[in-house]
């Protein structure tokens, strides 16, 4: 009995000691022969990891004393995980995050500014296509370099246009043209059921909606980032919301969302050849290209009072907790520079101009549209306040859900309420 107890207590203490060891932060180790291991965190998963792995392979071949460990975490908890790791000083040296997370991560002190590194290494930041450095900047300092990006554009299915002899949309078209085209392409059967839709819209996707606001000549927030009131409830924003809602409910040229919770509304009409147009980012394009229902073409989004577009962007930065910022920068300038872009170009739009030009993407009838849209970008609302996601975003989402679901919704009253809610939330957080 005594021996058993002694044995048990040893086992327990051992397991405690072992588990304590296991919780100490991994990596950060220098391997044999002065090899440095850096960790790169990404929110990509599945096939999206292949370009990362390929770039790392190329980098390690050229830098035999550096090992880059890729740490993919896909899903909705990626940012929560990064912040937990940061507060435990166990974050990856290189972290990939998306556009609207940049201000809040930077204000929390998660990244180091890159300006001195860029200067000391003579890194030429003019290699990028226009507008691609801005999302990585906060208060004039560069914290992240671009990975990939997408503006918005209108996909259209030439088969459906040809069948009804409707002319293709052309660059510089207007909201009126959009409505007229969509109406011509909306087809009803004898009992009044719609069998083909004019355009598939991305439901209550707030960030995508910023294009409609900017095109109407409006803005959701003041330039100093302090006021939603007087902006979200302005006549320009009301015009954008009303037009968007009318496409759904008044003119009925857009199918109702299939799943409000899914990114972009969960609709599949365009993919099934049942909608002639679709406004969205470049992400589903490769599926559309190989889809037998679709004869794909792409055109710039229509203009209203202004020609406008918004950018969706992912980038890399160096964690403030990194023990090897110099080594991390070496990899960062590789993965975000020309060598990295040579690999990205086969997976997404490359950020580096010379690569986009030499690979023929800039002049491609489809890819050239996306790249050309970089000349029409307006800054997104999140760039004016680090609190966008928790103040105005839910308020705007509520407005969009309301007007899509309820044909009799009062746009002006909804926007007035939203501006008031967002303003109150902002003032509470700002103090």
């Amino acid at each position: 009995m005594k021996n058993l107890l002694r044995f048990l207590s040893i086992v327990i203490w051992l397991s405690l000691v072992l588990s304590a060891c296991a919780t100490s932060p991994p990596a950060e180790q220098t391997g044999a022969g002065g090899t440095i291991v850096i960790r790169a965190g990404t929110g990509d998963g599945g096939a999206g990891l292949t370009p990362h792995q390929q770039i790392i392979q190329n980098f390690e071949d050229q830098n035999p004393n550096i090992i880059v460990q890729l740490e993919p975490v896909s899903g909705r908890d990626y940012y929560a995980r990064l912040l937990t790791q940061l507060s435990a000083k166990a974050a990856p040296d290189i972290m990939q995050i998306g556009d609207d997370a940049v201000p809040s991560f930077v204000t929390k002190g998660a990244f180091i500014p890159l300006d001195t590194y860029l200067k000391d290494s003579n890194f030429d930041t003019s290699i990028y296509l226009p507008g691609l450095l801005d999302p990585g900047k906060v208060d004039g300092k560069q914290y992240l370099l671009p990975k990939d990006y997408s503006p918005l554009a209108v996909y259209y299915n030439k088969n459906l246009f040809d069948a009804l002899s409707v002319p293709y949309p052309v660059d510089g078209w207007t909201w009126d043209d959009l409505l007229a085209t969509a109406q011509k392409l909306t087809v009803k059967d004898s009992s009044g059921n719609v069998t083909q839709w004019g355009i598939q819209l991305p439901a209550a996707w707030t960030t995508g909606f910023e294009y409609w606001v900017a095109a109407a000549g409006g803005s959701l927030i003041s330039k100093d980032g302090k006021n939603f009131a007087g902006f979200m409830d302005s006549p320009e924003v009301a015009r954008a919301v009303q037009f968007y809602a009318d496409l759904y409910n008044k003119y009925q040229v857009a199918p109702q969302p299939a799943d409000l919770n899914a990114f972009g509304g969960g609709n599949s009409e365009f993919a099934n050849g049942k909608a002639a147009m679709m406004i969205f980012g470049r992400w589903p394009q490769s599926d559309f290209k190989s889809n037998p229902n679709i004869n794909l073409a792409v055109v710039a989004p229509p203009m209203d009072q202004a020609r406008a577009n918004v950018l969706f962007w992912g980038g890399f930065g160096i964690a403030s907790s990194s023990k090897y910022p110099d080594t991390a920068f070496k990899y960062l300038s590789y993965v975000s520079g020309e060598p990295g872009a040579q690999v990205w170009k086969d997976w997404a739009l490359p950020a580096v101009k010379s690569v986009a030009d030499s690979s023929g993407l800039s002049s491609d009838p489809i890819e050239g549209v996306w790249i050309g849209e970089l000349n029409h970008l307006v800054p997104r609302a999140y760039t004016f306040t680090p609190y966008w996601n928790e103040t105005a975003d839910p308020a705007l989402r509520k407005v969009l859900e309301s007007v899509i679901l309820d044909p009799s919704a009062d746009v002006k009253a909804l926007l007035a309420q939203a501006a008031q809610d967002a303003q109150a939330a902002l003032e509470k957080l700002g103090n």
Binding site: L5, K108, Q256, L260, N261, K398
Partner: protein, 296 residues
């Protein structure tokens, strides 16, 4: 003698030490930390800033907190009675012992062992307004089905419907309870001329009341913690009509990184569940009967 007692106590604590360590490190510790956090403003990265009772005070004016309380209470009020009666009906259905009944018991119980997420995804397809099974079925009778999860008036109801798959759990408990009821009671009452309906209300139901009580408590606690179905199917929408309190806590904590406020919300949830459970415990003496107990 005393040294024997001490030895016994020592070996007792040694024997439960794996649980004890786990409890202290992963339950009691985090609870204490979250209690502390609820009095601070904390974004995970910067050091927590003491805020006193601010977080608790903010609750009163937070329209989303009030909305999430409404949603949670409505869901609890709708789901708990359905779970209690539905499970009981299922148990009565599969109670008779004959060949093959095990198959039915398994079928009804099976959903509870499957992952919640997988179930919600299946329900998403069934409730799809265009071509989903439910609306297809309603269409056969000339009924145009609602847009279910996309309609703020039907979304919460859809989630209540989804949770029917959990009936198997309470069914199993009822079934176990029924098997402990002595057959003599039924035989004696049959001799006295009681029919099966009378038997159900005067024998089965009173003697099952401890199980009903147990299911009630579990069900109330579980519905207050509802999360998965809304997280996967609706993310609280449309128009916050399915914003459960736990989903709101998750959003504050892991999307907005307001850890202090989220901790305060969590403690409010804890207090509500605690009070409700204590009230239910108190109510026992009015309606729960234990076999062998004499009423005065």
């Amino acid at each position: 003698m005393r040294s024997f007692q001490r030895k016994e106590a020592l070996s007792f604590y040694l024997a439960i030490s794996p649980w004890l360590v786990g409890f202290l490190a992963f339950t009691a510790g985090p609870m204490l930390i979250s209690l502390f956090a609820s009095f601070t403003n904390w974004d995970l990265l910067a050091a927590p800033v003491w805020a006193g009772l601010d977080n608790y005070r903010d609750l009163a004016t937070d329209s989303l907190f009030i909305q999430s309380m409404k949603v949670t209470l409505t869901y609890t009020a709708a789901y708990v009675p359905l779970d209690l009666t539905g499970g009981l009906l299922l148990a009565l259905l599969v109670r008779p012992r004959f060949k093959g009944i095990g198959v039915f018991r398994t079928i009804f119980y099976l959903p509870t062992v499957f992952s919640g997420v997988a179930f919600v995804v299946v329900w998403l397809w069934m409730l799809n307004p265009n071509g989903g099974l439910v609306n297809l079925f309603l269409g056969w009778f000339g009924i145009t089905g609602p847009r279910w999860l996309l309609d703020p008036h039907y979304a919460l109801l859809s989630l209540v419907m989804m949770s029917f798959w959990g009936w198997g759990r309470s069914m199993a408990l009822y079934l176990g309870g029924m098997q402990t009821i002595p057959d003599e009671l039924y035989e004696a009452s049959a001799i006295d001329g009681a029919g099966s309906v009378r038997q159900f209300f005067t024998i089965t139901l009173p003697l099952l009341s401890p199980i009903i009580f147990f299911n009630l408590v579990l069900s109330v606690i579980a519905t207050f913690q509802s999360f998965t179905s809304a997280f996967v199917a609706t993310n609280g929408g449309p128009l916050d009509s399915t914003l459960f309190l736990v989903l709101y806590i998750y959003r504050q904590a892991f999307e907005f990184f307001h850890m202090g406020y989220a901790a305060a919300l969590a403690w409010v949830l804890f207090a509500i569940v605690l009070v409700l459970t204590l009230l239910l415990m108190r109510s026992q003496k009015f309606w729960v009967f234990y076999l062998g107990e004499r009423s005065e």
